[in-house]
């Protein structure tokens, strides 16, 4: 399977080269004989004013609070000066406790009567969560540990961030996490930024640092590993 991905990439790279030689100005709509490849719409920052549009009640409650077997994931989002970011938006996508990757509708169920949000139904596991950071840069999420893959996918948006960032929160101590290929490929200090701190049973801490630096006590901290899905 890895070979297949690599082969596709090689073809893409060759196509890109041929196209440059042919007509650089046409790069906006790259078309090849095999597959038309449209140029993507560029990303732009989420800005400061998404708060009344994107977050929704219960956005971080993939399972109802207090549900047996639930895992709490919480932490802070910090900038390059170590200052908490109060206007970031985090999205999480994960496999279900049964290993399903299909997700389910119903994350932001609506109430047809009032036009407001009805909340999740408390039964369906949708696999998707969205939480904004609070004034202290904190977020919290209640979910089930995923099965099959030992991580939650994270997508980070913020004012000042022109193009969103992907990362992963690996739940320390969950099955499968020791033999993950991405973790194994990283030097220990980098790897540690993707691993949650298991504070106690069922409570994990995951801070996201947009840049590395030194905190007030002179301690070094590492920039979170961000991912590119080529």
């Amino acid at each position: 399977m890895t070979d297949l991905t690599t082969a596709v990439d090689a073809v893409a790279a060759d196509d890109a080269k041929a196209e440059n030689a042919e007509n650089a100005a046409k790069a906006a709509t790259a078309v090849t004989a095999a597959t038309p490849r449209l140029a993507p719409t560029p990303a732009q920052t989420v800005g400061p004013f998404f708060g009344y549009a994107l977050p929704f009640p219960g956005g971080g409650d993939l399972v109802p609070p207090g549900h047996p077997g639930a895992v709490t994931l919480h932490g802070r989002v910090l900038d390059g000066a170590g200052t908490p970011i109060p206007d970031a938006l985090l999205e999480f996508w994960q496999a279900g406790p049964d290993g399903s990757r299909l997700g389910a509708p119903g994350s932001m169920r609506r109430d047809e009567t009032t036009g407001g949000f009805a909340g999740r139904d408390g039964v369906t596991f949708t696999g998707f969560a969205r939480v904004a950071t609070d004034a202290d840069g904190r977020y919290a999420l209640r979910t089930f540990a995923p099965a099959g893959v030992p991580y939650l996918s994270v997508c980070l948006f913020a004012r000042g961030l022109l193009h969103h960032l992907f990362s992963r929160a690996y739940l320390t101590g969950e099955p499968g996490y020791a033999e993950d290929a991405l973790l194994a490929s990283l030097p220990p200090a980098r790897r540690a930024t993707l691993e949650t701190v298991r504070e106690r049973d069922g409570v994990h801490r995951f801070d996201i640092r947009l840049q590395g630096g030194e905190d007030a006590d002179g301690g070094r901290y590492e920039e979170t590993v961000f991912l590119d899905f080529a």
Binding site: T41, A43, W93, Q94, G115, R159, L162
Partner: protein, 255 residues
């Protein structure tokens, strides 16, 4: 430290544009997205990673699948931002339509598109927007819809006004609508902004200019489409969205 002037920002934007042109001339691929490190946009300084991204080419990656939404996640009125209050909002009524496609040109069907925007006077219904332009009691400015089986979305709204911000002295954002779009894979996720054709503020705005490739910048600008204008009701704009994503999402046989 004195606040930078527009002339300072212009100089920095020109330098970034020239650097990009130089890289292109030396054979580098077109920049499809803004650089996260774009000094003219001051807030990016402490909010961009300094280390290179870690490339993941794993056919088993969770990010090749993605969240789904359904009829229960939207109401019919959500796509009409002029119908969320008792009265009609002030401003120029517009309809914005387009398609969501993947890079292979295939429609992204049944996925969630969310929008938010300032009112016609350039003010957001957000407590932290202190721009002293009037709020409109008949306009909140948030909407959502699901794409149809052809990947089409459509919103009825009013044209947002330009608004000032504090990036530098006399900084003004060109009128724009914020868009949040999901693909079939989480790795295709995008949040972006749609601009209106011919806005005189384009050249002054470091957020738009952070996309240093001119053709890529053009893909953020809707076109006026007279055929989409509704007689006696609204002016029509067309804007198609192409989702980026890993090569695995371009191939025809990906589930």
């Amino acid at each position: 430290m004195t606040a930078p002037t527009q002339a300072d920002i212009d100089r920095e934007m020109r330098a970034a544009g020239d650097a990009y042109a130089g890289r292109r001339a030396a054979g580098s691929a077109p920049g499809e997205h803004p650089a996260r490190d774009y000094p003219p946009y001051r807030s990016s300084e402490l909010r961009h990673p300094r280390q290179p991204l870690t490339v993941v080419q794993d056919p088993d990656a969770m990010e090749l699948s993605g969240p789904v939404f359904g009829a229960a996640d939207v109401t019919a009125l959500d796509a009409d931002l002029t119908a969320h209050h008792i009265g009609e909002p002030l401003g120029e009524r517009i309809t914005v339509q387009g398609r969501v496609l993947d890079r292979a040109g295939r429609p992204v069907a049944g996925q969630l598109v969310e929008v938010w925007q300032a009112n016609a006077a350039g003010r957001y219904a957000h407590r932290r927007d202190r721009h002293p332009a009037p709020l409109d009691p008949n306009f909140t400015g948030a909407g959502r819809c699901l794409t149809d089986d052809q990947g089409r979305y459509a919103f009825t709204t009013v044209k947002p006004g330009p608004y000032p911000w504090r990036n530098h002295v006399n900084a003004w954002r060109p009128a724009h609508i914020h868009f949040s779009v999901f693909g079939t894979a989480f790795a295709q996720r995008v949040v972006t902004q749609m601009y209106f054709p011919g806005d005189p503020l384009f050249a002054y705005d470091p957020i738009l200019q952070s996309v240093t490739d001119e053709a890529a910048r053009g893909r953020l600008v809707a076109s006026y489409d007279h055929g989409l204008s509704v007689p006696e009701f609204s002016l029509g704009y067309r804007w198609d969205i192409v989702l980026d994503g890993p090569a695995a999402t371009w191939t025809e046989d990906t589930p």
